[in-house]
Amino acid sequence: MAVAVTGSAASTRRVSSRHFVRLKLRVMGNNFRGQGWRVALFVVGSLVGLWFAATGFFLFAAPGLADGDRYALMVAAFGGGLMVLGWLLLPLVFFGVDETLDPARFALLPLSRRTLVTGLFAAALVSVPAVAVLLALSGLVVTAGALGGWSAALVQAVGVVAGLLLCVAAARAVTSAFATMLRSRRVRDLAAVLLAVAAALIGPLQLAATAALRDADWDQFTSVATVVGWTPFGAPWTAGIDVAQGRVWAAPVKLLITALAVVALLAWWSRSLESAMVGAASSGKAPTRPETSGTPVAQFFPRALGWLPRDRFGALVAREVRYWWRDARRRANLVTLAVVGLFVPAMVNLGGSNVVDGTGGFGTPDTSSPVLVSLSMLFVGVLAAVTLANQFGFDGSAYAAHVVAGVPGKVELRARMAAFSVYVLPLVVVISVVLALILGEPGWIGMTAGSLLATYGVGLAVNTFLSVLGAYSLPETSNPFALNTGAGVARSFLTLLSMLASAAAAVPMVVAAALLGDVWLWLALPVGAAYGLGAALLGAYLAGDVLDRRQPELLAIVTPRR
């Protein structure tokens, strides 16, 4: 019988990336089976991706087609660099990563880490966004070809493919590392790190852009582009352009920079991947918690929320408040929201003032305007509210407890809004005060808070409907950024839709800021707060009716398929 054992060992064949790619395609295909709406969403997502790809292609090909030699480097360095930056940051903020192949599933298979990482990497390349980016950036090949002939085009083609590898590797490495950090339950350290990273990333870009816009000096633009071209952000995209412009020696160096960056990112990913795989088997030792004190009900309500009524509404709020902090997935959303909510308005209002100078009525150079502040608050409010777009998906099958208990829909939705606001409202105050102080306009605090509250309120209303009607299940993995197949497209699509709707509903606040002048500085807070509160309550009232009729269906949708 020993013969059989050695026989099977000898017939073990090498596992290549091909297997992972085929596995991913098969899993995707099986997920579509009998789910018409998923196929439809996938098709819509692909079409949107294709449209973006076509637009991008012509933008990147424009310098070549129009024979704009001097712009080629800039388009390649800035456009490509933005693409890499987008792949780095967008998964964290909006989209998550498609974990059709969950690394934890491979933990028991006899695969070397190298095989696993390259395999998962190859599988990650098979996605709509990756294909779209490849198509868009092949425009650079046209540019390089038009300017420098076949050799330049060939080098550029290699560069574009390498750049795509860089984008995907960056997205995977960052989300995976971020997920590991979140699991370590040391969130305070994490928040500090995140703030630093965000500042580090946005700061230099902001300065460069501001400088470039202020001087509108093409030479300076070009020199910035040259510098970017020597970083991993721009290196893959500018290699072919360099050949076309006679700097043949630069191409191999830039490709080498890209290759090194990809290898480094994959090594980083591979390290956090290992902890993700082990983490699935044992999530570490449970933290030692203080001994029990008080009755169960007293324990259940957080001390800061002791004023909540001891009824359904109070219980729902208390549970949600605890969950926003204890659930890594929700916590990731909160932390991201806090970081983005503070930095983006600050950057937009400090740097962007030059762009819209004059449109805001009474803006002096180097300061912002009420319209710009209102607009940036529109963004933050919409971003905050969209966090609730899939609030039932966070619960997953645990939502069954609410169905069994027959919780009224209106109470449920009001409580969920209230609990999230426990975190968002302090953030609103902080953002308003900090922004007003940075801008040196303390009088704007009321207007800032008012626009933010109005947008947040209407956003809550829109997203409450979305969460009842457009919910989707989240996989039960430890990675807070993981999504099910097809959900990525669905999520981006619905998120975009709801953000547009919320923003549209909040536009009156911006219009008022533009038209009313100084009176608005006083009126904005009460009007905005009332508008937001009214919209949120109306949303909960209307969506609550829908929820009452759809509870079992909603439960079925948010329960992950196993």
Binding site: Q299, F300, G396, A398, V403, T559
Partner: protein, 254 residues
């Protein structure tokens, strides 16, 4: 008035998933005060049937009554009488055991003082008091079943519907759960539970139904269904299992 009604009545329940029929017309009458076992192999439709009976899954056709209250026409009344422990469903497991019980009690609209008293008692009886503030997500499988049972019992339901209550539970916890269920039935409650473990069903149940391929194959009191054979023999015959001949899988022997 509810005393005259059966504890649970199912009529012609049907559920289709895509093109697969999971439950193909189930009729069932569970008498009040009975200990009812729903037997069936994996994939027979036990979970689907029970989910439709308690209002978790909307049936394609058919109706369900809990003590005379229509589950789908008047869910609020029916759900008040009902305690449910679903299988394969997460609890709100990022709460500690005590927090989870408090949550379930308040969610049912119970008085906080009553919740406190009953929750403390349940934690004590189910030997979960020692877990302290450990989150339910860090509980063992047996502890999770026990806290799930406590959540279902907290509001003092008249009918208890349990999906696989003894799955993945160690013997000590299983004995404790059996004890509590026996006392609950002796006190006038009704228990319906699904299982594929014959010993448990034979030991506990007054009534048995065997479900296979989405329909009820045998139903009645334990004695009626079993006859003069063992329940396992009846079950295997009804379900139509196959036995290994010893020829296949030869490479497994060293």
């Amino acid at each position: 008035m509810t005393g005259e009604h059966p504890a649970l009545t199912l009529r012609a329940l049907v559920k289709r998933f895509d093109d697969k029929v999971a439950v193909a017309g189930v009729d069932l009458d569970v008498p009040a005060g009975s200990f009812y076992g729903l037997l069936g192999p994996n994939g027979a439709g036990k979970t689907t049937t029970l989910s439709m009976a308690v209002g978790l899954l909307r049936p394609d056709a058919g109706r369900a009554w809990v003590l005379g209250q229509d589950v789908w026409a008047d869910p609020v009344r029916a759900k008040q009488l009902l305690g449910v422990m679903p299988d394969g469903v997460r609890l709100f497991d990022r709460l500690s055991g005590a927090e989870l019980l408090a949550y379930h009690g308040l969610l049912r609209g119970m008085d906080p003082a009553v919740v406190d008293q009953r929750a403390a008692e349940l934690l004590d009886v189910l030997a979960l008091g020692d877990a302290g503030r450990t989150l339910v997500v860090d509980y063992s499988a047996g502890m999770k079943k026990k806290i799930g049972l406590a959540c279902a019992l907290l509001h003092g339901p008249r009918l208890l519907v349990l999906d696989e209550p003894f799955e993945a539970v160690d013997p000590v916890s299983a004995a404790l759960i059996r004890d509590i269920l026996r006392r609950y039935v002796a006190g006038g409650g009704t228990v319906v539970f699904s299982s594929h473990v014959m010993e448990v069903v034979e030991r506990l149940c007054s009534h048995v139904a065997i479900l296979a391929a989405g329909t009820i194959k045998r139903v009645g009191t334990l004695a009626e269904v079993r006859g003069d054979r063992s329940l396992e023999q009846v079950f295997v015959e009804v379900v139509g299992g196959r036995t290994a001949t010893g020829e296949e899988l030869a490479w497994l022997s060293q």
